[in-house]
């Protein structure tokens, strides 16, 4: 039974770039230890919301409170200390191309801890073992496959043992088997280490397999149209957007005609 302690609280957030508003009136909470999934069609602002949650974009207005501290109003030093409690794995992996996998994961440890080099290398080896990349420590990112890059990025996100990890489309571009392996890994990390995961995705299989709670965003309403567990959302027949998403329905009348 999960305790409902709040890890992230979003208050009246208006998300966007500069003066362009993409999402508005966002209010939700992410509880500690849960796998929280943000879904929605292409272009609905999932990645923008994620960028606001990790402090890459300043909110147009509203608050992003991470572990009790507001990210938007924090000074740069305070912001950096908040950021050390979170890990982010980007869609492309965003591994530093000029460094080996080992050096990529070592970097945050070298910068933010005073541990001796041998200890750091042991920690890195442990993280690599967790994601199943123990033999690839000295490879360059260019030598890794898509799935390996994502796992290496996950290992780097975990380097400082953060309490929250954000993943941007972890299964995009992966084959079903690799994608399922990654899902299993996330689920395992969440249950064994108690890490809170915030995941942006639109892979139905993935959503089904891992999510504890979901919010669904929608372009036309510029906000959240549904919140709940995967089962609740799947049974939601009231809202056509939610129903179509989970049942892979399309709403193009022309294509309908063509099919008949």
């Amino acid at each position: 039974m999960k305790q409902h302690q709040i890890a992230i609280k979003i208050e009246d957030l208006v998300a966007g770039y500069g003066k362009t508003v993409i999402l508005e009136n966002l209010n939700f909470e992410v509880f500690k230890g849960e796998i929280f999934v943000i879904i929605g069609g292409s272009g609905c602002g999932k990645s923008t919301l994620l960028k606001h949650m990790i402090g890459l974009l300043p909110p147009v207005s509203g608050k992003v409170i991470i572990l009790g501290k507001d990210l938007a109003s924090a000074t740069s030093t305070a912001k950096n200390s908040i950021l050390q409690n979170i890990g982010v794995a980007f869609q492309s992996g965003a591994l530093f191309g000029s460094m080996t996998v080992m050096e990529n994961i070592k970097l945050p440890l070298m910068e933010f801890t005073r541990l001796p080099d041998s200890a750091i290398e042991n920690i890195v080896q442990m993280k690599l073992q967790l994601v199943g990349l123990e033999k690839s420590a000295y490879l360059m990112p260019g030598e890794l496959s898509g799935g390996m890059k994502k796992r290496a990025a996950l290992a780097r996100a975990m380097a400082l043992d953060p309490s929250i990890i954000f993943l941007d489309e972890p299964s995009a571009g992966l084959d079903p088997v690799t994608s399922a392996e990654l899902d299993y890994l996330i689920k395992d990390l969440a249950s064994s280490l108690g890490i809170t995961f915030v995941i942006v995705t639109h892979e139905l299989a993935s959503i089904d397999a891992i999510s504890d709670r979901i919010i669904m965003l929608e372009k036309t309403t510029k906000g959240i149209i549904a919140t709940g567990t995967p089962d609740q959302l799947k049974q939601d027949k009231q809202n056509p957007h939610v129903y179509n998403f989970f049942n892979r329905n399309h709403s193009n009348p022309n294509t309908d005609k063509g099919k008949k």
């Binding site: 990790i54 402090g55 890459l56 740069s76 912001k79 950096n80 200390s81 950021l83 050390q84 979170i86 982010v88 980007f90 869609q91 492309s92 965003a94 591994l95 530093f96 191309g97 970097l107 945050p108 910068e111 933010f112 780097r156 022309n254 005609k257 063509g258």
Partner: protein
């Protein structure tokens, strides 16, 4: 009829039959892009010539194949028929498999594309837009300069926070590896200048004074300038491309969310390296340029020691230090411009190319402007 690769389908052809009620165009064979292009001009002309009735019928019974281009052609015929005076144009014997395509063409024709196209901006609007983009970018550029200055000041106060390994790596790539090209350019500049100057000076028997010219020109002006231009082409572009690619690969975002300041992490080492190597390369360039001049003077029969004495007696420490100060500033300009342009990289396949070009252009412009400022400053200071 289904088409397979070995089905023989004749290219499109037509015949026209007339009766008092209607004029009928029979289309036969394969109406595809080639066929449509072939008949695009001729068939409408034929139709308008042979108008005897009020109704035009397009008989499609013997059409073996119809694709998108063919459908567009049918509607072209319809429009042509209507404009040449037919009251109605009908499509007859349309095969059921083509109806979906005809429907699609109808709805596509109804879409008003003009409302979808972005409207053309007037001359004033485009100028205004460009100006506002330019102002925004300049503002961003100045902000980055402030950010970089702050990061540099912090680094000076805490030298331990500088990433020295990266700094030396950049110094090696941008400095040591540039020795060859700097030597080549400087040697040729010294040599060519000596040759050009020797001709008029020979008239007065003053060839030896070429040494004074080479010495002062290399040390004060050409050494720093040539080095800076080589570095702008070589290193500013490299910095912009490296940082631009990191921007596109989300590596800069990754640094930011790790709580590592990208300016301190990526830009400061490059600026420090560049500021150290540019004056060093300038000294090297001065020396090689003077050697280039020496080759010309010795080939005219003067001993090298006279050339040396001439330069040493004429070129002062002030000239040398003035040149070095300039190159120090050029070093900062080149690295900062390269890094900022890389940092400003937008998304898309041509973005890094654009940033690289802008890095080189901006650094050369800034080098020229600052060279001018230094010349005026030195003139008034009497250096």
């Amino acid at each position: 009829m289904t088409l397979s690769a070995d089905t023989i389908v004749t290219p499109v052809s037509f015949s026209i039959s007339k009766d008092p009620e209607a004029c009928t165009v029979h289309l036969l064979g394969r109406l595809d892009a080639n066929g449509a292009a072939h008949l695009w001009q001729t068939l409408p002309t034929q139709i308008s010539k042979q108008r005897t009735a009020d109704t035009l019928i397009l008989d499609l019974e013997h059409l073996d194949y119809l694709d998108t281009a063919g459908t567009v052609f049918l509607f072209h015929l319809k429009t042509a028929g209507e404009s040449s005076g037919f009251k109605q144009v009908l499509m007859d014997h349309l095969k059921p498999e083509y109806t979906a395509m005809i429907e699609l063409a109808k709805t596509a024709r109804q879409t008003d594309r003009k409302t979808l196209q972005p409207s053309d901006l007037s001359f004033v609007e485009t100028r205004g837009e460009k100006l506002s983009v330019f102002m925004a970018e300049t503002k961003e550029f100045i902000t980055y300069i402030g950010e970089i200055t702050w990061a540099l000041m912090t680094s000076v106060r805490h030298p331990g926070s500088i990433r020295w390994a990266d700094t030396f790596l950049v110094a090696e790539r941008a400095g040591v590896n540039a020795l060859g090209i700097v030597a080549l350019i400087s040697f040729i500049v010294g040599l060519v200048m000596a040759f050009q100057a020797a001709i008029p000076m020979q008239m007065f028997g003053a060839e030896l004074y070429v040494a004074n010219l080479i010495g002062i020109a290399m040390v004060r002006e050409l050494g720093p300038l040539m080095t800076a231009i080589v570095l702008a082409g070589r290193s500013a572009s490299a910095f912009a491309a490296e940082i631009g690619t990191m921007r596109i690969n989300e590596e800069i975002d990754a640094l930011t969310v790790m709580g590592l300041d990208p300016v301190r992490f990526l830009i400061v080492p490059r600026i420090i390296a560049s500021t150290i190597i540019t004056p060093l390369l300038t000294i090297f360039s001065n020396l090689v340029g003077i050697l280039g001049g020496a080759l010309v003077i010795t080939s005219m029969g003067y001993p090298i020691i006279s050339y040396y004495n001439q330069i040493v007696s004429f070129v002062e420490w002030n000239d040398f230090m003035g040149g070095l100060l300039k190159s120090f500033v050029f070093g900062i300009l080149i690295a900062a411009t390269g890094c900022i342009r890389g940092y400003q990289t937008q998304s898309g396949p041509s973005a890094v190319g654009i940033s690289t070009t802008r890095a080189v252009v901006t650094s050369i412009v800034l080098i020229a402007v600052f060279d001018g400022i230094f010349s005026i400053m030195y003139y008034f200071l009497g250096i």
